[in-house]
């Protein structure tokens, strides 16, 4: 399973960034295999079969190799599912201040959006929104949770 391997690489990258080993939960939900009953082109399809999110290092917005790989898969998926438009959410961990994190989340969302357009996805199919530190995926206050929360999520509209 190629997706699984990529997810593990993403985890390894996070370990290097934060210095503490996150649990395997940090892996994206990709790599579960094409489960039956999932409608092609749906939000679940993107989440389960492609991977709907990429992760960032602390206070960074550049895309890691793993993130670029995930976004290449997302771009291919968007080319197949031409009717789908997406919103890119930019998120941060809780270790920054509110207003700065709104700006950082916007940078992360833009980095994802720019990469998808560079892969040939029309800019008018993509919108961005920053949630700063306001919508963590994991509510815990530890390195594992923070690594999961520093993310760009591609949401099917």
């Amino acid at each position: 399973m190629r997706f699984k391997i990529v997810s593990l690489i993403a985890v390894a990258g996070l370990v290097a960034a934060c210095g503490t080993a996150p649990t395997s939960e940090t892996a994206t939900t990709s790599g579960q295999g094409a489960a039956s009953g999932i409608v092609a082109g749906s939000a679940e399809d993107l989440k389960v079969n492609v991977g709907d999110r990429v992760f960032f290092a602390f206070d960074k917005y550049n895309l890691t190799a793993a993130a670029r790989y995930t976004l290449q898969q997302q771009a291919a998926w968007l080319k197949t599912n031409t009717a789908v438009n997406v919103t890119i959410e930019g998120h941060c961990d809780e270790r920054g201040t509110r207003e700065y994190n709104l700006a950082l989340g916007e940078r992360r969302a833009t980095a994802v959006s720019d990469y998808l357009t560079s892969q040939g996805i029309a800019a008018n199919r993509i919108s961005t929104i920053s949630y700063g530190k306001e919508r963590p995926e994991d509510a815990a206050s530890n390195e594992t949770a923070w690594a999961k929360n520093r993310r760009g999520v591609t949401v099917v509209k």
Binding site: D59, Y61, E94, R95, G96, T97, R98, E99, Y100, L102, A103, L104, E106, R107, T110, A111, D114, I129, S130, E134, R135, P136, E137, D138, A139, A140, S141, N142, A145
Partner: protein, 443 residues
Amino acid sequence: MTYRLLASFAFVWFIVAIGAAPARAELEIDITRGVAEPMPIAVTDFYGEGRGEKSFGANIAGVIAADLERSGLFRPLDKKAFIQDAESLNVLPRFGDWRIINSQALVQGRVEMTVDGRLRVEFRLWDVLAEQQMVGMAYFTIPGNWRRVAHIIADAIYKRITGEDGYFDTRIVYIAESGPKTKRVKRLAIMDQDGENHKYLTDGADMVLTPRFSPDQQEITYMSYYQGVPRVYIFDIESGRQEILGDFPGMTYAPRFSPDGKSVIFSMAKDGNSEIFTMELATRKVRQLTRHSAIDTSPSMSPDAERVVFNSDRSGSQQLYTMNANGTNVKRITFKKGRYATPVWSPRGDLIAFTRIYRGEFYIGVMRPDGSGERLLTKGFLVEAPTWSPNGRVLMFFRQEPSDQYGRGGKTRVFSIDLTGHNEREVFTPQDASDPAWSPLIP
């Protein structure tokens, strides 16, 4: 929904100074230094003839004593120690009775219900050792405003003894938080500085952040995710009306009013870049102050409106900068280790309060506008968003505790702290609370 908060405040009339000319100020507190020993003060129940008047008198004295105590500068004495009774005190203080319980200052007053249903409240502040009246005032108001009169009296006492304006007749707007961290519900809320008269201004359907008062405190500027589009809004307190600030192509956030209240200074983020803008409210004229590929945000204007302090990562990490109000003459003012954020200029103009992040801890501190004289006042897992009392002597901020591995905990509350770093206290709120903003003194 309308909130007639300010309308009712218009009915306080300051009447007259009463009694003898103020004594020379033997009794004073120098609040520029940390006060080790708060001044013992006797705040007596205000005298009233009828049952209603008596009850107002006791309540007013209670609010005054609580205000003075919370400032950390005064120690209101236990009423049980009082020797002189209210009736004879109403004629004249027997100073010996107050000296013997070590009271340095004495507050007495009187409440009368007038025939037209208004409240007449008078008070006198006495210097017990000098046996002289320091200040005396009388006020008329509608009975519903008794709390406000108490705060105004506490301000008068504070001012007479410290020589500085008080800050008790003020309000706090903040974000009330509830629900799990991953789906936090955030509502605009407003309350008196002591936590009373609490009201929610929004219903929680849309996430709201970073509210700040206008100088006349009729309006609040804040950020809302209304209809999923994060933008700066202006909330009119009296009418309850909310209006978007301008029409911008990107996320607008981090708003604050200019000192004259005629403009809002804020950030707009678009295409991965945040810049600082001002918008004049009457003309909708927009001006861009920064032009830099870095994040430029959290602007706060100096009280003379000449300078702006802001947060930028143009050096590679979050630091504080100042610039002229037209965007020229940009200077970096922080050079110590760590990251700096949320600068806010003191209403006195002499200091800038900020959040510093260093080695995994957050600090609230103050420095001079050129970056010198940094003093850290408090620290924690997460402390953020200082806001100044109108006299520039006290800060409020919020403190969030860490959550456990299951995401439980994370208690978030507003605290106040003296500029000296002493007297840190939680401000009572019904739920979790963040992003406090202190109003100016109510006009």
